[in-house]
């Protein structure tokens, strides 16, 4: 573990954001010039309900060190229910990956509203910090183009 907590390690985190709350919240963080770590790469979807939990597995397999799904707070979903479905699916996949030995710090979900740029920054900081403590994803990462 010692070498993993290397402070030089800059994790690569793939995030799935719903268009209406979290993506807007991340935009607001930008408009408000709130600085946060550059480790998160965002994929925009219309609703967190679109996020197939197998995306998490896929991202980790491709080499992402962590995955974040972010949607509207319960009750605020633009499509009324999508985030509830997302939450259910996430709960199962998160626990399952933990069961396989994937550190739960790598598999995160958050609610971030469109009006909360500060919270977006805090989420990113927390997720980035968490992934840093567990180090690079090395468990079932795909070997690129092996012979």
């Amino acid at each position: 573990m010692a070498e993993k907590t290397n402070s030089d390690f800059e994790p690569n985190i793939v995030a799935f954001l719903c268009n209406w709350c979290s993506y807007a919240g991340a935009d607001l963080a930008g408009t408000s010039r709130i600085e946060y770590p550059p480790n998160v790469r965002i994929i925009r979807v219309m609703c967190s309900g679109r996020v197939n939990p197998l995306f998490i597995m896929n991202a980790l397999q491709q080499g992402a060190d962590g995955v974040l799904i972010s949607g509207c707070y319960p009750g605020d979903c633009h499509y009324m229910q999508g985030n509830y479905y997302a939450r259910r699916r996430f709960n199962l996949m998160r626990n399952f990956l933990e069961y396989l030995g994937v550190e739960p710090e790598r598999v995160r979900m958050s609610w971030v509203s469109a009006s909360d740029g500060i919270r977006w920054k805090e989420v990113i900081e927390e997720v980035t910090e968490g992934v840093k403590t567990v180090g690079p994803m090395d468990k079932f990462k795909r070997r690129q183009l092996n012979w």
């Binding site: 690129q144 183009l145 092996n146 012979w147």
Partner: protein
């Protein structure tokens, strides 16, 4: 070359010595015995019946890169099998060794498969005679093999049921290997050889299942539309157990794995004629639309097409497909029905 003897105590040293090559030997993964590349001689597990997955995967890997490419560029980087180095497969059973010599015919037939052939050339096969038949479903003796058969092997070890193995080099490769191991080998006597012969004949007697395949290759084409195919395949699940675990099955699919950057590799990987998509055409048409046609193909391939082309049945009687079929589809049962039909 003289027949030698190896004291069981020295097996560890022999395996360590073999470690200077790429050593493949049976090892346990949990309770499952599989051939794998040995890093530490302690991993080798010789007290086994037969491996679940046949050692064919060591010469015909389940997934094998053929070459790498960059989309839009003509240059290819071909796989260099040579780099894998001299390989010793240690402890394989006579049926599996014989299977390799059967598959060799295919990979050297209308097209010399350089990957396979190179790997075979680099590989020395050290067999372990079956003093006890590994499974109730062994029937090697019905299809031209034997528990002590040497076909395909470069060297054979026989557990003399005392503290020694009888070691017999069978080919030039085997002799070379024997030289390498000379320090650990003693001379075998007539008594030892006699003992081995005795064990061999006892082993043959212990094989309980059999079939007379004599007329089958000629008969199969006549049974093409026979109702038995539907009946024997009714319960088939279409999984790949019987083919993937067959030491002679050798079908493969070729796939390109391409990154978004355009870098890619072309690889071949095992395929199974029992999979529903095996023969699906790009149009969506499938000439073998149901399990009936697929099961018929599997039997025909082994017992008709292969003998027709290569004069040998592509089945070595290892019994794996019978042991592991989830629904007890039994190749001997099918063959009996063929005989009776």
């Amino acid at each position: 070359m003289a027949v030698k003897k190896l004291s069981k105590e020295k097996m560890g040293d022999v395996l360590a010595e073999l470690g200077k090559f790429r050593l493949i030997a049976p090892a346990k993964s949990d309770e499952v015995v599989i051939f794998k590349e040995i890093q530490d001689p302690g991993e080798v597990f010789l007290d086994y019946g037969n491996s679940t997955v046949p050692p064919k995967k060591m010469v015909f890997p389940q997934t094998e890169t053929l070459f790498r490419f960059q989309v839009g560029k003509p240059e290819l980087a071909e796989k260099n099998v040579e780099e894998e180095g001299t390989t010793v497969i240690f402890g394989l059973r006579p049926c599996d060794a014989r299977a390799m010599s059967i598959v060799d015919k295919l990979f050297g037939w209308d097209y010399d498969d350089p990957y396979y052939q190179k790997r075979r050339e680099l590989t020395t096969l050290v067999g372990m005679a079956c003093v006890e038949p590994p499974s109730i479903n062994c029937f090697c003796t019905s299809v031209g093999g034997s528990p002590f058969g040497t076909e395909g092997l470069d060297m054979m070890l026989t557990d003399l049921s005392d503290d020694n193995y009888l070691v017999r080099a069978l080919t030039e490769k085997g002799e070379k290997l024997q030289e390498t191991l000379a320090d650990y080998l003693g001379d075998a006597g007539d008594r030892d050889e006699k003992k081995a012969e005795e064990l061999a004949s006892q082993a043959e007697d212990k094989i309980k299942r059999s079939i007379d395949p004599g007329g089958i290759p000629d008969k199969l084409p006549q049974l093409w539309e026979h109702e038995l195919w539907k009946r024997v395949s009714d319960s088939c699940l279409g999984c790949g157990i019987c083919t993937f675990l067959c030491p002679t099955c050798h079908c493969f699919d070729i796939q390109d794995e391409v990154e978004e950057t355009g870098e890619g590799r072309r690889a071949r990987m095992w395929d199974s004629c029992m999979f529903s998509e095996y023969t699906v055409h790009a149009s969506g048409h499938n000439p073998r639309p149901t399990r009936k046609e697929r099961t018929r193909n599997r039997i025909n391939h082994k017992y008709s097409y292969y003998p027709e082309r290569f004069d040998v049945i592509a089945c070595v009687g290892c019994g794996r497909c019978i042991n592991l079929c989830p629904v007890n589809i039994d190749i001997l049962d099918i063959l009996e029905q063929v005989v009776e039909a």
